[in-house]
Symmetry: C2
Subunit: 431 residues, 2 copies
């Protein structure tokens, strides 16, 4: 197998000789049948070999990436986007380490979720099996190519990947290293099928391959999500916004509340589990709001508050109602003061995006009510929203954080890329 350093694949990708989307789907489907029944050892061998090959071909991958980066810079792409695209030896090491970590995780396939015997003697089991073909559409970060491949393979799925045109050369080079790993372990290389046709029409066709795609996971911004909602006919899981709240209850330890609020906002403002809004019980607002405003301001955070919050600190500007429904993804936060726990829950259910919602409280009943009535993928008591993450939950790897309720809710690890199959044993049973 020739390692594609750059040229022909990239050129041909945009003109002719590209396999049709259905042909690619057919290949992913065929490979998925083999990967689904591969042993844990064989999948781990492939993952470890893929990590090795990625580092062995490090120079070629970085050269391909440098070309992607140069092209993006020539095209005047924003510096933050170019940064996401850029690889370097340490990022490459990180990608290889990620593959090795996934090899070390327990294999979810084959676990018996439950089983029972019917009065007529029929024995029923539910067995965990791979989804089949998992499709992922993603934007510029090329590390998703190896990350997604790893988590799909370990969970027994074929990965059907479509990255952005900006990262095409990088993705092709990374995929080639993954293919070498698969070959080395005797698994079909089509366990990773990379779509190299980066036209918009091709994306739409991709989202409609119902015969070949069992689950589509988009990883990108609002435009991508909108396109999925409008065009996709394959089943998908949306990795949506995180308009996360920290609610400081009347009984909260205010030192703890301060630490959690600041951590949830400033430790990494650009990610979906960062807090975007602070909700404070009126009983502690006088004491807490000025303190937290000072601490947030010291961290460079811009604050927009409702009338009551703004009246308590000159650091807090006036908020529009829409600010409370906004995911800033920046050093910016909205602050509301509420009369009681019920009002806090209403406020959060009204404005939240169903991602992660935290309460700081010393009151057991308040904690229980908050966790029961707030409608979100994760509710947290006395902990920062920043913990809602596959790594922090101990999944070892994460393919996204679902904000929908179907199939997977919250951080998605290996188990979320599987489904349950009924296996029924009889002895000539008829109805």
């Amino acid at each position: 197998m020739n390692f594609p350093t750059r040229p022909e694949l990239w050129d041909s990708a945009r003109v002719t000789d590209v396999p049709s989307m259905r042909e690619l789907g057919e290949r992913a489907r065929a490979a998925s049948r083999q990967v689904a029944v591969a042993s844990t050892a064989q999948k781990n061998d492939a993952l470890l070999a893929a990590a090795d090959r990625l580092l062995a071909h490090g120079d070629e991958v970085l050269a391909a990436n440098a070309e992607d980066v140069a092209r993006a810079e020539d095209a005047g792409v924003a510096a933050t986007l170019v940064e996401r695209l850029r690889l370097n030896p340490s990022r490459l090491e990180g990608m290889a380490r990620g593959l090795r970590q996934v090899a070390g995780l327990p294999d979810p396939v084959g676990a018996i979720a439950d089983g029972w015997v019917r009065p007529n003697g029929l024995r029923i089991q539910r067995v965990r099996v791979p989804l089949g073909v998992v499709a992922i559409i993603y934007e510029s970060r090329p590390n998703v190519t190896s990350d997604a491949f790893g988590i799909c393979l370990k969970s027994g799925n074929a990965a059907f990947l479509r990255g952005s045109s900006a990262a095409l050369l990088s993705n092709v080079a990374i995929a080639a290293a993954m293919h070498e790993g698969l070959e080395k372990a005797g698994l079909p290389t089509d366990a990773l099928v990379l779509v190299t046709d980066t036209r918009h029409e091709a994306a739409v066709e991709f989202m409609q391959l119902r015969e070949y795609i069992d689950c589509l996971i988009p990883r990108g911004g609002p435009n991508l999500i909108r396109s999925i909602l409008e065009n996709a006919t394959v089943p998908y899981v949306i990795d949506g916004d995180g308009n996360c709240h920290v609610y400081v209850d009347a009984s909260a330890d205010l030192d703890m509340a301060l630490e959690i609020a600041v951590n949830a906002k400033v430790s990494r403002p650009s990610v979906c589990n960062a807090a975007e809004s602070l909700v404070v019980h009126a009983g502690v607002a006088d004491a807490f709001v000025p303190r937290v405003a000072g601490a947030l301001a010291a961290n460079g955070v811009e604050m927009l508050g409702d009338e009551r919050a703004a009246s308590l600190s000159a650091l807090i500007g006036p908020a529009e109602p829409a600010d409370f429904a906004t995911e800033f993804l920046d050093l910016k936060i909205s602050i509301a003061v509420v009369d009681d726990l019920a009002a806090a829950i209403d406020h959060i259910n009204q404005n939240g995006s169903g991602h992660s919602e935290a309460i700081v409280t010393a009151d057991l009943a308040a904690a229980e009510r908050f966790c029961t009535e707030v409608d979100a993928a994760a509710t947290l008591v006395n902990a920062s929203t920043r913990f809602v993450d596959g790594e922090e939950f101990g999944f070892g790897a994460e393919i996204g954080i679902s904000t929908q309720k179907l199939h997977a809710r919250g951080p998605m690890g290996l188990e979320q890329l599987t489904t349950l199959k009924f296996v029924v044993h009889g002895d000539g049973h008829v109805r």
Copy 2:
């Protein structure tokens, strides 16, 4: 509350004064928050009261239904469809019994699926919670109104229902009885919101209420499914076709195989878990095919076979390739002879719809391989495909049978109308 016997509601439904779809969604959403935290006892009270009110209002419900039936007959609707629409005292009794049965089932809400402690001391639990608002679009059978309401309520969800225009008067009357049951138990009547605007545009609007609908389950034919795929932006679970196979292995007890094949085909040919195709190992084809052909013919079954099958019995006509991918839903079956187990698995994975697939065998390795490699919601060993059903699996109630792999696969009972929420406890944890 006035019990709507028929007139104004029905007329107004088609002209003015109908609440907007968003308003209905808002009402269902608000009710869902209350129903989600209702106690098991309160939900059961509502179900039992609804059953009582349904029978108490039996005359009005049957009168409304008689009008629907008369209208359908006047419009020249096919007799089988009119039959699906028609209620009678015994069907009404069955609907009430269904509600009482659901009251007797265990409540899935609040169960702790699993939990663990992280090295940093963070305690993580996954708790079973209702989906929220479950929307169902269904065709003429009015019993779905009470069946769906019952299963949604017991699982803590608000039911947002849209039946067909043909059954509108029946559905309005049944919903009114359910509302009385909810009122009696002190639950919000909007735990069942019935859409009475039966225009096509309204259906499309319904499928796009992302803010209000957590899960949509269509119960209807291919046109409805196509419309969902094209228009829906809310998450949905497809209750799809059942192109089910019975595979008779080389080692099968042929008496058992005969009984299972005939049962799977003829016991109820119109349902999705009926067999549509018979696959026979070449080693037993000479002995089995003529026997099964005779037995199926005696039951009025039309048979279409591949060359080898047709050569073994004059009762078997020639099949086109497309026949093997067809769900006949009738006294009709396709028959293929294959060289070995691997060919049987390929044939089934190629032509099946991922519903229910049975093997008849005495060979342990063959049974295991079949169950592992056949890609379907249910695989059965020595049992008829007809057992793949919520009642037969012991779920007590069923809202459909999913042929997709996301969220729910196979028969969907109460648990499949719930999701898991992460509940995280810390002690001031920050990252």
